[in-house]
């Protein structure tokens, strides 16, 4: 109970801070309802280098306005979206380019609430690597049910496909996670993976707050978010 409260409070607090400093556009909304800040969902992109994690992120974040992207801005990877009629914030952590810095992974995995595990359907090595990422995430999070999507990117390159669809589905089934194929190029399923993951995260948070409220028996996932 307390932890849930503390969590909500801290998120709210962080939101206020962030919004106050870096998202001035949000101020009209704030003045209306200062107490109800959108919930923040922290999504982490994992996968080998060159599979298109950053392309997916940029597509989702900026769509056709990618020119607006400014790499060093604090809110470059944060966005307000409407998830099932509820305004939420998504914060995407993508360490594209730092894949070889293996030592830093444990720490940033720790802060993640949900993971998009991306590989390229044209690159079997990247598919193999998802296994390692999955293991490492489970180790750090110590939670098999952590919101997680297996994402096969570059679905537009069907003629160069080298990872059979069956293998992908099989792996996802073994992990009991959804499998989605995307194309950052055609924008196919890009929104879907982020939104699906956010729904998972949201229902997970609801479950957790229920669990900590002593309501352990109803472990069913419900799409409802309680905001203080």
């Amino acid at each position: 109970m307390f932890s849930a409260l503390a969590y909500q409070l801290s998120t709210t607090f962080l939101e206020e801070q962030k919004c106050g400093r870096v998202v001035p556009r949000a101020s009209p909304a704030m003045s209306k309802k200062p107490a109800a800040q959108p919930t923040l969902h922290k999504v982490i992109m994992v996968g080998s280098g060159g599979v298109g994690k950053s392309a997916l992120t940029l597509q989702f974040m900026y769509d056709e306005f990618v020119e607006d992207y400014e790499p060093t801005k604090a809110d470059s990877y944060r966005k307000k979206v409407v998830l099932d009629a509820e305004e939420v914030q998504i914060d995407i952590l993508d360490t594209a380019g730092q894949e070889d810095y293996a030592a830093i992974r444990d720490n940033y995995f720790r802060s993640g609430e949900g993971f998009l595990c991306v590989f390229s359907i044209t690159e079997p090595e990247s598919f193999d690597a998802t296994q390692e990422f999955r293991e490492q995430i489970l180790r750090v999070k110590n939670d098999e049910n952590i919101p997680f999507l297996l994402v096969g990117n570059k679905s537009d390159l069907a003629d160069k496909r080298r990872v059979p669809l069956d293998a992908c589905r099989e792996r996802a089934a073994a992990w009991q996670v959804p499998y989605v194929e995307t194309s950052a190029k055609t924008r196919d399923n890009v929104d879907k993976v982020f939104f699906d993951l956010m729904r998972e995260i949201r229902s997970r948070k609801t479950d957790n707050s229920r669990a900590s409220n002593g309501d352990v028996k109803t472990r069913r996932r419900k799409i409802k978010c309680s905001i203080l």
């Binding site: 280098g49 604090a74 809110d75 489970l138 180790r139 110590n142």
Partner: protein
């Protein structure tokens, strides 16, 4: 100075599977600008390390921790607690006085400042070698990265190596206290790196301390002072990924040169610029230039640091094969789990099983903060709950691991994830169980008992101790007794590096030695010790010898079977000899228990 410190704090830089792999890595000299082929005797020695390991590699197939034979370097290794724990070799009385090779460095004997300084020199050289073309092409992200971005790759390798080395050094110590000492040492190193504006190695060290293997070591972290923890938290804050690494970005902007930045965020920025502004788009060049200019400026850094070739050589000797990184990480994590077994997760289950887990883990956890827990190998710790705990004749390690395998509260494929992937296709845990399972020795009962001085042993005990009826303890007659000071040299094949001399009243009754803990800090008469026994040791399998070489009033008890070794000081030569004589008398008389199938004839 090194020599002396090494004697006090021996640690393993050799006998780990990670270290074993260094030999192969050593071929890649060209990536290491400051490294020179050995000229003087010092560096020569450092370079001997891989050769030693090579022998073991071929002999032992590298996979089994237990099968190291007693090679030429056995005397060195017997000093080392980790090695003791890994090996089946017997502890020898002389090992303490053997000279440890004073040129083999370990992190702990090097001042943090030296480590930080030399790391910085090595980093700077590597950082300056990076060429703009490697960056603008995003070449480090491609399959042919070794040819198109060799210097970025080399610089990144440095990062990972420093991080792995940090993890390895911390995991090399057996007790939480020792690990905390190393941990604190590395926090000092981090602080120095911070002072030097070397954010590259600083982040490497910080990452190591935040890695799954180190982060989870609650007992180790608990040994740190509040100040040390705060210091570390502050350093770690710098590398938070919050708000697009805003803390690190702002800090980098705020500090003057010289500075070695963490290259990673620049690499990410470049990758994003590359995607957002593909070749030909108007802003690409200008955006990339901003990043390159910043890095170029950092590359003009100069440090006024005197190179210390020996330290640099030691730092460079930390190597492994990059392709095996994942497996080495797994190895570290497994070792971490062994050192501090996880407490059952998912407390919400509240099942009986998880309660049992706590009990059995509590009894089999070899390291506790209480120094008394480290003593008393082969002794029976009496506890009221004894009859609830089933006797399982295995080594404590395998038992603690084994109990985890049974845990219902862990995620379903937890074992698979964490234990299933043996680095060389062999499961260490299995080896452990096989190798360390002694044939139902009485002394190993210790493993299943909780310590509780003063509690009375139950009837169950007498079944295991056929030569003495302990069920009526007060009526036992004492054959011989007196004041001793006892020190645990090794226990169950594991070296106790920081044990101290503890005062006991020792009594021999039949073939049983009974220890009575002291009431006060001084006094050698019976009344200065408790009347309830605190530890009991069955003499079967123990050999007593008088060790006049060290101190005339000392004798030792060695059990080759359980690989345990105690030293005793009595204060008088005659008493020491008398103890030895009495114990020998008893042990000679002990009739080997008949095999079970013969017993059934009676």
């Amino acid at each position: 100075m090194f020599n002396e410190k090494l004697k006090k704090m021996p640690r393993d830089i050799l006998g780990d599977s990670l270290a074993v792999l260094r030999i192969v890595e050593h071929e890649e000299e060209e990536n290491w600008p400051l490294e020179e082929k050995p000229h003087d005797h010092d560096s020569n020695n450092v370079n001997n390390v891989p050769v030693i390991n090579a022998q073991n590699y071929s002999k032992n197939d590298c996979a089994c921790y237990f099968n190291y034979g007693l090679g030429d370097n056995a005397s060195n290794r017997s000093l080392d607690p980790v090695y003791q724990y890994k090996t089946s070799s017997l502890p020898t009385a002389s090992s303490i006085t053997d000279s440890w090779d004073d040129k083999v460095y370990s992190a702990l004997i090097l001042p943090p400042e030296d480590i930080a300084n030399q790391l910085t020199l090595l980093d700077l050289q590597s950082f300056k070698a990076i060429q703009p073309e490697e960056l603008t092409t995003c070449g480090w992200n491609k399959l042919n990265k070794l040819t198109v971005a060799p210097n970025v790759v080399a610089f990144t390798k440095r990062f990972n190596r420093v991080s792995f080395w940090t993890v390895q050094e911390i995991l090399n110590s057996q007790s939480p206290k020792d690990r905390a000492e190393t941990l604190a040492h590395f926090i000092k190193v981090a602080k120095k790196l911070h002072d030097l504006n070397n954010l590259h190695s600083l982040f490497a060290v910080v990452s190591a301390l935040l890695s799954a293997s180190i982060y989870r070591l609650a007992k180790t972290w608990a040994c740190l002072s509040k100040k040390e923890k705060q210091q570390f938290d502050k350093l770690a804050e710098l590398f938070g990924d919050k708000d697009n690494w805003i803390a690190l970005r702002e800090y980098l902007r705020s500090i003057p040169l010289p500075c070695i930045p963490y290259l990673g965020i620049f690499l990410t920025d470049l990758v994003y610029i590359d995607i957002a502004h593909p070749a030909g788009s108007p802003h690409r060049i200008s955006k990339m230039t901003v990043v390159l200019k910043a890095l170029e400026r950092y590359q003009t850094s100069e440090y006024n640091i005197v190179p210390l070739p020996n330290v640099a050589n030691y730092l460079n000797s930390v190597r492994y094969i990059e392709e095996l990184q994942k497996f080495l990480e797994d190895d570290h994590y497994k070792l971490s789990l062994k050192l501090e077994p996880p407490s059952p997760v998912g407390s919400c289950t509240g099942s009986k099983e998880s309660v049992k887990e706590v009990v059995s883990q509590g009894s089999s956890t070899p390291y506790t903060l209480s120094p008394s827990h480290r003593l008393g190998s082969g002794s029976l710790r009496l506890h009221g709950t004894y009859n609830q705990t089933k006797f399982v004749p295995t080594h404590r390690k395998s038992r603690s691991l084994g109990s985890k395998f049974r845990s219902a509260s862990l995620p379903r494929n937890f074992h698979k994830v964490n234990f299933g992937v043996g680095i060389f296709g062999k499961n260490h845990t299995d080896d452990r169980v096989e190798e360390k399972t002694p044939a139902g020795s009485v002394n190993l009962l210790d493993d299943t008992l909780l310590e509780s001085p003063g509690s009375v042993c139950g009837e169950k005990m007498s079944q295991s101790l056929p030569h003495c009826d302990l069920s009526r303890p007060d009526q036992m007659e004492c054959d011989y007794g007196g004041f001793v000071r006892r020190k645990t040299i090794s226990k169950d094949g594991r070296k106790i590096s920081l044990s101290s001399w503890q005062r006991y009243w020792l009594e021999m009754t039949g073939s049983i030695l009974v220890f009575y803990a002291s009431k006060s800090f001084k006094g050698n008469s019976r009344s200065d010790f408790r009347s309830e026994r605190s530890k009991v040791l069955a003499l079967e399998g123990w050999i007593a010898t008088w060790c006049d070489s060290e101190a005339a009033d000392a004798f030792q008890l060695i059990n080759h079977h359980t690989k345990s070794h105690y030293k005793f000081k009595t204060g008088y030569e005659s008493t020491a000899k008398e103890w030895v004589r009495k114990i020998e008398e008893v042990t000679n008389k002990i009739v080997k228990p008949l095999p079970a199938n013969l017993m059934s004839f009676e």
